[in-house]
Symmetry: C2
Subunit: 298 residues, 2 copies
Amino acid sequence: MGKSRVLPGAERMPSCGCPRDKALNGYKKMSKYVHGYSDRESKRLQDQADTLDELLHHDTIFPAKSEILEAGCGVGSQTKIIARKNPSCHFTSIDISERSLGIARSLIRKSRMQNVTFQKGDVFNLHFGPESFDHVFVCFLLEHLADPVQALSNLRNVLRTGGTITVIEGDHGSAYFYPRSDAARKTIDCQIKLQAMHGGNALIGRELYPLLCKAGFSDCRVGPRMVYVDSSKPSLVDGFIKNTFAAMIEGVEHEALSNSLMDKSEWKRGIKDLYRTTEDDGVFCYTFFKGKAVKKRQ
Amino acid sequence: MGKSRVLPGAERMPSCGCPRDKALNGYKKMSKYVHGYSDRESKRLQDQADTLDELLHHDTIFPAKSEILEAGCGVGSQTKIIARKNPSCHFTSIDISERSLGIARSLIRKSRMQNVTFQKGDVFNLHFGPESFDHVFVCFLLEHLADPVQALSNLRNVLRTGGTITVIEGDHGSAYFYPRSDAARKTIDCQIKLQAMHGGNALIGRELYPLLCKAGFSDCRVGPRMVYVDSSKPSLVDGFIKNTFAAMIEGVEHEALSNSLMDKSEWKRGIKDLYRTTEDDGVFCYTFFKGKAVKKRQ
């Protein structure tokens, strides 16, 4: 579902996209990117984090006084939540974008939290020594990377033996809704195709288990975190369907149309049908996946 | 996901199908049907019920001494579970198929349970007076009906004011997996199309909320029950992916090919790819929906 990240110097970015700045080094060159450049996108990301807080993070609890690496903190939407939930822990939150880090620093400062240090950093070229952290936390990052196994393997290296990694990713193939609509489905498929064109993978949630295993982690456990929304849950109708999911899909209109993935009238119908699911008889489903695994001696 | 039901006189049935016997009266004529005619299909249904027991029924608990109508009990796979979990309640379990009822009676007799009465009955022509039951239970029935709202409305009529209805249905559009495979996806889509051709709806899970509302129920609450399977859960790999889901899809091969929905080589590849998800790096997701609603005075 993405976080705000901006390539320095990017003048304009497609509002979906991958492999993001993260993957630039040695993987897939891209000229520009990003979820979260515009004010509207920043608001969307904040809505998403607020709405999903309990679902994704009710169990993001680390042992007291842990040293934790948050890889790919973006504008700090998740940082704010997990740092507050673990006040005795210290977070080193890295991102490749100075601009995103600036926004994240400001967010944490406003929240008066003292337990986060922000640093510029790249998961493909980490500047920490082996076994530097007790735990690693990754949220909405792997979907943007061309080589997620390499990234996880690098993160494993800076994790102490016995430490854990926690990973959360979405999966746009898990989105389905009522009333059904082929046009709406196609707008989502556009986002999936565009993310793949940028070297990312919007369907990565279902892959967390094999990815963690391939990266050398042990005791891998993955579970779904499904968002089910009908009109008995008005805060999710607004917070998730409208402000998070539909807003994200709407954000790729320009790129989808300019790549001729859909024509404009069908696109408009698809977006209208996505919003149609927010009416009284509508239903919307989406699933995130949360995985946890341990670094054991190999 | 269906239950065993057989039309008396049906010589051979497609192993998917709808609107099943239930919908025959005044809705959509069909000549034959059924999940669960063959021994293999009966075993599949039993595997399904055993595997999903905890997920679907951990909270299928009724107030002590309730009178409960189970509509569409089929061969009794769910009856056995809910009757055991509610030993002080009495179940009236109806099905339109005498043959299925015979199997169900035998199953319950073998389990030495005394709290179930089986009767032949049709949700479109119920023979009970108004307000006859404290609660109604429906599982894997609506997916086979051409008019599920009418069925729910009829069931509401025989429920006492203040009583509840519990409904469980699957949704084949919720199935996704790793490794991804277009051919495997197409085999599932065949099952969905065939069920629609028979007047049913294999995508009904997501619709439970609006269906219950339209049938006049109040305080409708629906939640997903997602089955997530990776190789860390070997009993689900066998019990759900192989013996329940893939077996069900395999069961419609003849009907899918004879309706030219896929060609044989693509079908074979699709089925092979479904089983491929049972390997060490495979993942399979499927979601059931469980709804509960109250009859209030209108």
